[in-house]
Symmetry: none
Subunit: 161 residues, 2 copies
């Protein structure tokens, strides 16, 4: 396991780690409070109150972290295209004729959406290298040299919508 992998792991699981550490700390504080107040058992109400407060806070914090990771107002401008109504179906015979696999077609569709290889890999849960292999094969089969031409050609052949 390299340091790259470790930092990747940290990045990906930062939140979970934070929660874990926070919970551990809380339990520690709990224990301390317990030992502190248990001897004076008429202070049990204060103790319980503190616990209640503490955990209400924890709940709020948790919910906040979990439900509002981005409190930004998104303005999505969506263009509605008239006269582009018909549904698309893949030209299956053409796909078979060119020997393009399902996975390759899938990659091709994402390429057509303008995604980078990296982004495609993340979308399909495969590595960058795999995406590159797929796209290279696609280019070969479509007899083109780059993704833009591939999209152009695939459109004309009815492989993508």
């Amino acid at each position: 396991m390299t340091s790259r992998t470790i930092s990747d792991f940290y990045r990906k699981h930062r939140q979970e780690l934070l929660y874990g550490v926070s919970l551990a700390l809380l339990l520690f504080v709990l224990r301390w409070l317990e030992l502190r107040f248990l001897v004076l058992d008429h202070l049990i109400e204060i103790y319980v109150g503190a616990i209640a407060l503490l955990f209400t806070g924890l709940g709020i914090w948790l919910a906040h972290k979990l439900t509002t990771p981005k409190v930004e107002t998104r303005i999505v401008e969506r263009a509605v295209y008239v006269a582009a109504g018909d549904e698309f179906t893949v030209n299956e015979p053409e796909r078979l004729r060119l020997g393009i696999s399902h996975r390759e077609l899938e990659v091709l569709q994402l390429v057509a959406e303008g995604l980078s290889n990296q982004a495609i890999g993340e979308r399909l849960f495969v590595s960058l290298n795999t995406v590159k292999t797929h796209s290279s094969r696609i280019f070969e089969k479509l007899e083109v040299r780059n993704r833009t031409q591939a999209v152009e050609r695939a459109r004309r052949l009815g492989l993508i919508g």
Copy 2:
């Protein structure tokens, strides 16, 4: 105070009332649990655990109620009329709206044909750098990050055939 006023009051302060009632109920349960378990003081941990759980839940619920209405997504839909016929004419209003110059459109068309920047430069008798400048401006104006997305978008907007 009429019944109308009362129902108005209820509508306006429904949330606050709910909170109040809930809190009262909680305190009641608390009290009950206290009496229940205090005699068996080795069950204090269970008691405290229950309290903790309860109030964590309360916190989450509170936070949820308080923060969810703040998420706001505005979707601006805009109709774009694309020529449905076979012959293509540039959607001039759209070009002007986006502030895309004629030269830029020319470059965009060649990009759509799948030419490399180098090839576009040779076709238009300008340097590679000039083509890059143009295409960068195009990307900005179309709000995209690469040529594939640019072609995709330009096609939909009726800027290219």
